[in-house]
Symmetry: C2
Subunit: 465 residues, 2 copies
């Protein structure tokens, strides 16, 4: 007889943890550092706070390969009534809104909690306070996997002694520092390249201290939440909007719930869909909704999607980061204008560093640093659209570059929704609009490199005479 049953999202991701990057102890240690650091940076630079991030990885047991991973930030902190769900409920997040952030799934830190629970049995510890609070709050939390609910094992609070705000997250997991350390150090290094405005210090189990000091005070403008663009609409979204709208008419419901839709545009859309603008939103029938979705998706007279929800690094930040890390003889960066795919605005940025202390590349392609929403992508490069463009769409010889060469290429894709191929966030899918922008961005910085190499060549020949 068949055993039919439902499982919670916590049980699902506990069972299939490899899908979220927790395939083995080495990858789990790497992913845990990632998830905590990405949360810490989201809590700072998305809110105009210059980040101070401390990462501590220590052996937690003399015999077993258990590691205590602690990440501290000076970010916005978390309200105490929110903490249990934030760390103890899978699919709970503050980032389910239309705004560019590193986090998006409501899963990251919970995966680390689950992995700690199943390998060491130890709960996660959280200390947090917001700037306006007088107290600091402390929690020990584990996850009830069956119910997908937090279990608060301990809680406490105390009065602030000094002006502190931020969050300290600590958990103990099985890991493999020997296997993982090169990648973890690479991840922190690559993070520092795109956050030259952050202080990042890491203490390792080998008693090393890795320190990336802040070199600029300029930060990317923080992203602001926006309403969806009509190009991203679908039947279910429109239905949900109309059912929950408190507006008296469908016209006002459209204007309130979509960007780039003012009264004139809304009236135009409704006319084309053959719908009376004055009827109430909840009275729309199935056929009308489908007609309206089709009209909204094919209408060609909207203002383009707002880019206030995306937060590119900017050329100043990219160049500062590449300069600090590689001390190149030549550096350039470009931030493309906003584009969209499926109603989501996105920007592609590229940076190029050449010569100086830039290490020699592979014999067949430039050293390529992939980024998505400011997150360094280190694995699965074979299935990433950036890798594909660099290999197949750029004729490097046209830019006077032959490999190996002392050249580093940085490519950053940022969006309200980066089309990741999996919840482990390691590679970007080959979406045509995005691919096109990546190619244009890389060609742009490659052209500028060519200009430099040509001038350098001329100067060299002039000197010879």
């Amino acid at each position: 007889a068949e055993k039919y049953k439902a499982i919670s999202p916590a049980e699902f991701f506990y069972k299939y943890k490899e899908i979220a990057g927790f395939a083995n102890p080495a990858r789990a240690l790497y992913q845990t550092v990632r998830e905590l650091v990405e949360n810490a940076l989201d809590a700072t630079d998305s809110h105009g706070i210059l980040p101070d991030i401390k990462i501590v990885i220590q052996r937690a047991d003399p015999v077993q390969e258990f590691y205590r991973v602690t990440v501290e930030d000076n970010g916005i902190g978390i309200p105490p009534d929110i903490v249990p769900n934030a760390f103890g409920r899978v699919l709970f997040s503050s980032k389910y809104v239309l705004k560019q952030t590193r986090g998006m799934y409501g899963l990251g830190v919970k995966m680390a909690v689950l992995y700690g629970q199943m390998t060491t049995g130890r709960p996660i510890e959280v200390i947090t306070s917001k700037r306006e609070y007088r107290r600091i709050y402390f929690f020990k939390i584990r996850i009830d996997i069956n119910k997908n609910e937090p279990i608060v094992l301990e809680r406490g609070s105390w009065r602030k002694q000094r002006d502190w705000h931020g969050t300290i997250v600590s958990l103990t997991i099985e890991g493999d520092w020997g296997k993982a350390k090169a990648r973890i150090k690479e991840y922190v290094n690559r993070t520092a390249i795109v956050t030259p405005y952050a202080n990042i210090v890491m203490y390792t189990p080998d008693n090393e201290v890795v320190f990336y000091k802040r070199v600029i005070d300029v930060m990317p403008r923080p992203p602001r939440e926006v309403k969806p663009h009509p190009y991203g609409v679908d039947l279910e979204m429109l239905k949900m909007i109309m059912e929950s709208s408190k507006q008296p008419t469908i016209l006002e419901a459209l204007v309130e719930n979509f960007q780039s839709v003012g009264e004139v545009t809304a009236r135009d859309l409704l006319t084309r869909a053959g719908i009376d603008p004055s009827i109430s939103p909840s009275s729309l029938k199935e056929d009308d909704l489908l007609k309206l979705v089709n009209v909204m998706k094919t209408y060609s007279q909207y203002k383009p999607p707002s880019s206030s929800a995306i937060s590119p690094l900017g050329t100043e930040v990219i160049k500062a980061g590449l300069n600090r890390m590689f001390e190149p003889e030549f550096v350039e960066a470009v931030t493309r204008r906003p584009s969209t795919y499926e109603g989501h605005p996105f920007i592609v940025e590229a940076g190029i560093a050449y010569g100086g202390k830039v290490p020699l590349s592979e014999p067949d392609k430039p050293t390529t640093l992939r980024y998505a929403n400011k997150i360094p992508l280190l694995y699965d490069e074979g299935s990433d659209v950036i890798t594909s463009v660099v290999k197949e769409d750029i004729a490097w010889e046209n830019y006077l570059v032959s490999f190996p060469a002392p050249i580093v290429l940085l490519v950053h894709v940022c969006s309200t929704k980066v089309p990741f191929k999996g919840v482990g966030k390691e590679s970007i899918a080959d979406v045509p609009e995005v691919r096109r922008e990546i190619k244009l961005a890389i060609s742009e910085v490659a052209r500028r490199l060519r200009g430099y190499l040509t001038a350098k060549q001329k100067e060299f020949e002039a000197q010879r005479k």
Copy 2:
């Protein structure tokens, strides 16, 4: 202010549907056919029923690219009280047990329902009956995305007029037959290669009929559910077992809940963990559980994991499938002995077909047909361990093969848990134990091909004299 919220698994996979393979209308049409066909085959061949599968894809609208996809099978059917959850609740499945099946996530058909809902608004229709029933049951179902619950829009039943059992699933989605048809046909063709014991007929929107007739009555032995093997244990699993066990002693709880653990072994494990075998399961403390997990994972005297839970194709089925599809001059197949990774038993099988009507391969590698749990894998070959082994670990020239050549290589990995890289089930992760077995299986069939090519060469030279 931050907007903290929880979402249901239905909303999560609706929001991030590209992660499950529903990235665009062409891929969605492909994935919908896949999910329905895989469910139909699971309902037949895992239960000793020779499959009769009918696939119908028709244009559902004169203007819009809407397609009605219907799959009918002669399988075990679904109880009427189960149908709403089976099709309307994400993370509901009969395949969350330790047994090899194509399905595993409890997500597949629900993704298709969600996609139909958001692109056409139409519900899924299900007709089903079990062999022993006198009635046939009918449902029209949509998903309440917010609550992750089914909404039954219509239901009915009627008396059977003839001895029918099985399931008919029909839904209407936006698709792109022009872009998807080559891949859909390839998928059905590749399915037929490993199910030569099935009748599969497909009716396409171009009014074509594709028919793969049953050519053998031999089926792989159906898999049988097993208890977990101690090598796959973790702290959370052991805790859940001990808390829910009705056994009076920890000794009996171990014997009841794990395979390869009889009384002698259980006593040995408990002794090594310093635990009294007569205490009740729920009285174990945290430290004891962790000690016991460590002992169980490192103990070296178990019987190896049972392979009754896995269901390899077998060499007869593989050869019949390759012969029917390619009419080669040479065909061979091998089924390796069971192996394990992380407590999960797995088997790698390989088949090779050469000459005859086998098409010419690429200039650098053999045409490779990847399969996992009898499912053909068509996308993401770049990140699949099989591709990696074929390219990097096999010196084809040692087997007298130089490309291009009229050679097809089939590789099948089957397990109680195939280490897929994503919920879209397109590529297998590089797990060391699995990689090793793939290499050994391919080497084996390549050796036999070499034997044939050597004999053929000798015969050719003998004839020349």
